[in-house]
């Protein structure tokens, strides 16, 4: 279970997150929606401390961290609980697909190379890249790179996988293959927090949807409800703009 309590974050004078509270149950798939600048990516990056929150408390599994007095080793311990899939993939450019997936297992989890290798090969097979083990990121398409990114995150067997707009940098025709992989692992009961603009994906896959704007959570609830009967006016506006074909006045 993941629990964020009173997370606040400012860049200079600009307060991006205003005392956010969010609970994610084990096995849940949570989507965070919202216009750009609403703080959703910052919130996600606070969970693994790529952004340092100014205040609040982060709890992942049995590990909890008070942001005000976080030491280096606490941050490190927190990061080991999660894995992240990036918008720009961020695969290690000088390593092959296989080495990218193995890296975390060998260096962080200290697995013997052989075991790490076997596990990585299995994961790459799972995301449909069995034939690309020795390809460098520059030799892969965006969709393939992102699937390696997902395999790399899965390899660590984290408590939660954080997806930061995983399909935003992709060509429209490659979005499908990545979403299919995320859908597949969502069904396996892996806890996920997904920041996305893919509304239909959010509706289908998520168990819980969160709408953010201006650094606060405006509304949250089951996706069917949030999409079909939004309670807040701001949510309604946003959904109308993003999915004009949706008719939520039933």
């Amino acid at each position: 279970m993941i629990k964020l309590t009173n997370i606040s974050k400012s860049f200079g004078r600009n307060q991006v997150l205003k005392s956010i509270n969010l609970t994610v149950e084990k096995g849940q798939v949570v989507v965070i929606l919202g216009p750009s600048g609403s703080g959703k990516t910052t919130l996600l990056r606070c969970v693994n401390y790529l952004e340092k929150p100014n205040d609040g408390e982060i709890m992942i599994g049995d590990y909890s961290l008070k942001c005000k007095h976080a030491a280096k080793k606490d941050i490190h311990a927190l990061r080991e609980k999660s894995a992240m899939v990036f918008q720009q993939y961020n695969l290690f450019k000088h390593k092959t697909a296989l080495e990218n997936v193995m890296e975390g297992l060998v260096i962080v989890k200290k697995l013997p190379r052989e075991e790490a290798r076997a596990r990585s090969v299995a994961l790459l097979k799972k995301v449909g890249l069995a034939g690309k083990l020795d390809a460098y990121p520059s030799q892969l398409s965006g969709g393939q790179q992102q699937r390696v990114g997902i395999a790399r995150a899965l390899a660590l067997e984290p408590e939660v996988i954080l997806f930061d707009e995983p399909t935003s940098a992709l060509d429209p025709e490659l979005v499908g293959e990545v979403l299919a992989v995320i859908r597949k692992i969502a069904k396996e009961g892996i806890t996920m927090i997904v920041v996305t603009h893919e509304m239909s994906f959010a509706r289908d896959v998520a168990n819980h949807a969160v709408f953010m704007d201006g650094g606060i959570i405006v509304e949250e609830g089951p996706p069917a409800e949030l999409f079909n009967r939004p309670r807040e006016e701001r949510t309604r506006q946003f959904l109308k703009r993003i999915t004009p074909e949706l008719n939520y006045h039933i």
Partner: protein, 276 residues
């Protein structure tokens, strides 16, 4: 002035000059070693933006970049012993090569620090974030992820610095070091065949330069192999084809990279930077 031109002297001078090649290469190697260490030390404060120290680094770099190496050589050779005498340190017995390697080392260090800084900054921030997100510690991320990529970016510019250094060592003869240029001077005065000596000298420098260039080019191709298109890959074969000028295209692809242009652009032209 001098004896009439005689080509046989050129051939005659080759082995004689080559006998001092060791001294030249020793200066190059020693300076590179000193330069590498100094470069890292100078680059670190600027990479980590340490307040006072990074200003010191800037001053250091601008001194060594902004004054002629010949003047630096004189300052260190004639000036340093004087200054150290004030603190009762006698350097009058020290070998002249110590001063030469010290000067060239500090000089090269200034350029090295710029190369290190430029190439480390050229590595995408996302690479470090990905490493942290995997749970790597700061030093692991630097050694395993940033450094290898930065090295690939640095090699082409590094190569030019090495070659510039090789050529700069010819100035060491001015303080009496018997390296290749000094030897050529001596041979010239003895035989009065100056031109022949300088022709032989130029040829030897050229040969070493080309050899170094080739070696470092190989290193570059190896370090940047992840940026090369894979010919088995459908995407790759479209770009590269299977003609014999494949290697040329690969090299071009590397040099096309923005990352390279950025690094090269931040260096001064005469030390291997590119005019942009």
């Amino acid at each position: 002035m001098g004896a009439p031109f005689d080509f046989t002297f050129v051939l005659d001078f080759f082995p004689k000059l080559a006998s001092t090649l060791g001294v030249t290469l020793f200066i190059v190697a020693g300076s590179l070693l000193v330069g590498m260490i100094v470069g890292i030390v100078i680059a670190l404060p600027r990479l980590y933006r340490i307040p006072v120290l990074s200003t010191c680094s800037k001053v250091y770099v601008s001194f060594f970049r902004g004054t002629p190496i010949l003047i630096q050589l004189f300052l260190f050779y004639y000036g340093l012993p004087e200054i150290l005498q004030l603190v009762q340190l006698d350097l009058s017995k020290a070998h002249v090569l110590v001063f030469v390697i010290l000067t060239y080392g500090l000089h090269t260090g200034a350029f090295m620090s710029e190369i290190i800084r430029a190439s480390v900054t050229a590595v995408d921030r996302g690479q470090v974030e990905a490493a942290y997100a995997l749970g790597m510690k700061g030093h692991q991320a630097f050694i395993l992820i940033v450094a290898p990529q930065a090295l690939g970016v640095a090699v082409p510019v590094f190569a030019n610095t090495v070659i510039a250094l090789l050529k700069d060592t010819s100035l060491a003869f001015t303080i009496g070091v018997m390296e290749m240029t000094g030897k050529a001077q001596t041979l010239g005065s003895i035989t009065q065949h100056f031109i022949e000596a300088y022709i032989a000298l130029a040829v030897i420098y050229l040969c070493i330069s080309i050899t170094l260039q080739k070696l470092l080019q190989l290193a570059e191709l190896r370090l940047l192999k992840h940026e090369l298109p894979d010919s088995r890959d459908d995407r790759g074969s479209r770009d590269s084809g299977d003609t014999e000028d494949n290697t040329a295209r690969k090299t071009f692809r590397i040099q096309k990279k923005r990352i390279y242009t950025r690094t090269a652009g931040s260096m001064r032209t005469e030390k291997g930077g590119a005019k942009l």
